[in-house]
């Protein structure tokens, strides 16, 4: 599913490195899919991307699509802006989400909803794809929202 933009326009536009390391991730988010790395040789999940498996040092790394379901590992509520695009923009929440179905790798995003909400560590969240179609180049962020814990 898609969502309105959580933060104002004008923040840096994410692009793959010129060596293409994270290109499969950013291309996947444009399709509304979450793709991360897994080692073909030892099965270790890995995030962020790297050219080698940190567990067995194999270069045989593949990209796999994973379900956008996770748990809040940590969080922060930002009040003081450090970028001009965020001036006058009230608090916002950054969450660090671990993905139990992918070796508990962690991903960063914003927690959608009331920026003053209580944020329980351990709460279940699901991915929401936030498309930025009018930028050059266009991109899609993976955001998170709380879901029923049961």
């Amino acid at each position: 599913m898609t969502a309105p933009h959580y933060l104002p326009e004008g923040l840096p536009i994410p692009v793959p490195e010129n060596d293409g390391l994270s290109r499969p991730y950013w291309e996947g988010t444009r399709r509304g899919e979450l793709w991360i790395q897994k080692c073909k040789d030892c099965g270790t999940w890995q995030w962020g991307p790297e050219w080698i498996c940190h567990s067995c040092r194999s270069f045989e790394i593949e990209w796999l699509q994973v379900e956008g379901k996770g748990r809040i590992f940590s969080w922060e509520r930002v009040w003081h802006p450090v970028h001009p695009a965020l001036k006058e923009h009230g608090p916002y929440i950054v969450v660090l989400v671990e993905l139990p179905a992918a070796g508990n790798v962690r991903m960063i995003g914003n927690l959608l909803g009331d920026p003053r909400q209580e944020v329980p560590i351990g709460a279940a969240v699901e991915a929401v794809f936030e498309s930025h179609d009018d930028t050059d180049p266009p991109y899609t962020l993976v955001q998170w929202r709380r879901v029923d814990d049961s």
Partner: protein, 393 residues
């Protein structure tokens, strides 16, 4: 324990600093500030500045050793060292690198320095201004995760959650720095006392950090001069012997996108045991501690990882009265530190550790033999070091 050690081989002979300024307010350019601090350290050491034959710094200090050597008319340059990465986490490492050069005969008189003029150059606490961003920051900046405070708040949040640490523990760390700064005329916050009510009423920067949990940004320069232990005995000041200096970080500390396995950490878990092993001391032997406050939460985790108390006792230990000189259980940041003396990227903490050994701090702890410094927590690599009086040798 193998026979390879720095313990007792090198001493600090001199210290010097410029006036400390609010950021952007230094009347002099950064390079001139560096020169002034180095000359004051040489004068303090009773050494002709032309005897300096090496330079060590950290965090990509902009003041190149070859230019410094030429400007100062130094006869011969033998050591030019930059500690890689880690920002303020390199402060004790730079001392260690300089000491290693002196101990092994690569150089005889090495200055450790750091200079900052953030009016002349960009500030630390600002987000990236580029239109596009790639690499690890591409997974962070678009979410408004940009500044050092934003980068480290989630580590502290998780640590406080895991161990039930209360905000009052962070507050006590801020109180200690401000308390000690009131006795220190060099301190930028001298004459600006902080009360617990001020702290509680201050705005959030990024939860769990209030305004007073965050370091200042300042202009100025500081320097220390290291010489062989034998030589230090003949110089004017009581020597501060380096007993240990260590740097590093634990397993995959820099894993991208906040994936360090030991996440809720100041990065000292693997480093601190080496510190004590080389010093042949333990945390109970430390008379006074300077612990780098980029953010108070980093001090909290640094103290735990250096064994001063288990995390479950943080709320009991981190009370202002325990942290105040002269009589507290562990006098902390006795010059005012990065919060209230000056953010000289933590090098001011090294100078203060030396003053405590000499007995001339403005918040002196009685009879200091063991004086410890912990540099910039939560980065990688981090570093820490211990100075001792002659009695510890």
């Amino acid at each position: 324990m193998n026979g390879r050690t720095l313990r007792g081989k090198v001493a600090v002979a001199g210290i010097g600093e410029t006036t400390y300024y609010k950021h952007g307010q230094a009347p002099d350019p950064e390079f001139k500030l560096a020169l002034m601090a180095i000359l004051r350290a040489a004068e303090d050491a009773g050494i002709d500045p032309r005897e300096i034959d090496g330079f060590a710094s950290y965090s990509n200090d902009r003041n190149d050793p070859s230019r410094l050597a030429a400007a100062l008319g130094i006869r011969e340059l033998r050591f030019a060292n930059m500690q890689w990465g880690g920002g303020g986490g390199g402060g004790a490492a730079a001392v260690g690198n300089a000491a290693a050069a002196v101990a092994t005969g690569m150089a005889d008189c090495v200055v450790v320095f750091r200079a900052l003029a953030q009016g002349q150059f960009a500030r630390f606490g600002q987000g990236p201004r580029a239109r596009t961003i790639d690499g690890d920051m591409a997974f962070q900046a678009p979410y408004g995760l940009m500044s050092p405070g934003q980068r480290y708040a989630m580590k502290v949040m998780r640590f406080m959650h895991d161990h039930g640490v209360r905000q009052e523990a962070l507050r006590a760390i801020a109180m200690a720095s401000y308390h000690h700064a009131q006795a220190n005329p060099r301190a930028v916050m001298n004459g600006r006392p902080l009360t617990e009510a001020d702290y509680d009423a201050s705005r959030w920067i990024v939860e769990p950090f209030h305004l007073f949990d965050c370091c200042m940004e300042n202009d100025g320069a500081a320097a220390l001069i290291l010489v062989p232990a034998e030589r230090a005995k003949d110089l004017p000041h009581k020597p501060s012997y380096l007993l240990s200096a260590v740097t590093g970080s634990d397993y995959r500390c820099a894993a991208p996108s906040h994936n360090a396995p030991n996440y809720a950490s100041a990065s000292f878990a693997s480093v601190a045991p080496h510190l004590y092993e080389m010093a042949q001391l333990g945390p109970g032997d430390v008379d006074v501690l300077q612990s780098y406050e980029n953010f108070t939460g980093g001090v909290l985790m640094s103290l735990v990882e250096h064994g001063f108390f288990p995390p479950e006792e943080a709320n009991d230990f981190l009370k202002p009265e325990n942290l105040y000189a002269p009589g507290g259980r562990l006098p902390l940041n006795t010059s005012g530190g990065n919060l209230a003396e000056c953010y000289m990227h933590g090098l001011e903490l090294q100078l203060e550790a030396v003053r405590q050994i000499r007995g001339d701090s403005t918040a002196q702890v009685p009879d200091v033999d063991v004086s410890m410094v912990i540099a910039g927590p939560m980065v990688t690599p981090v570093s820490s070091c211990i100075f001792g009086s002659e009695a510890t040798l």
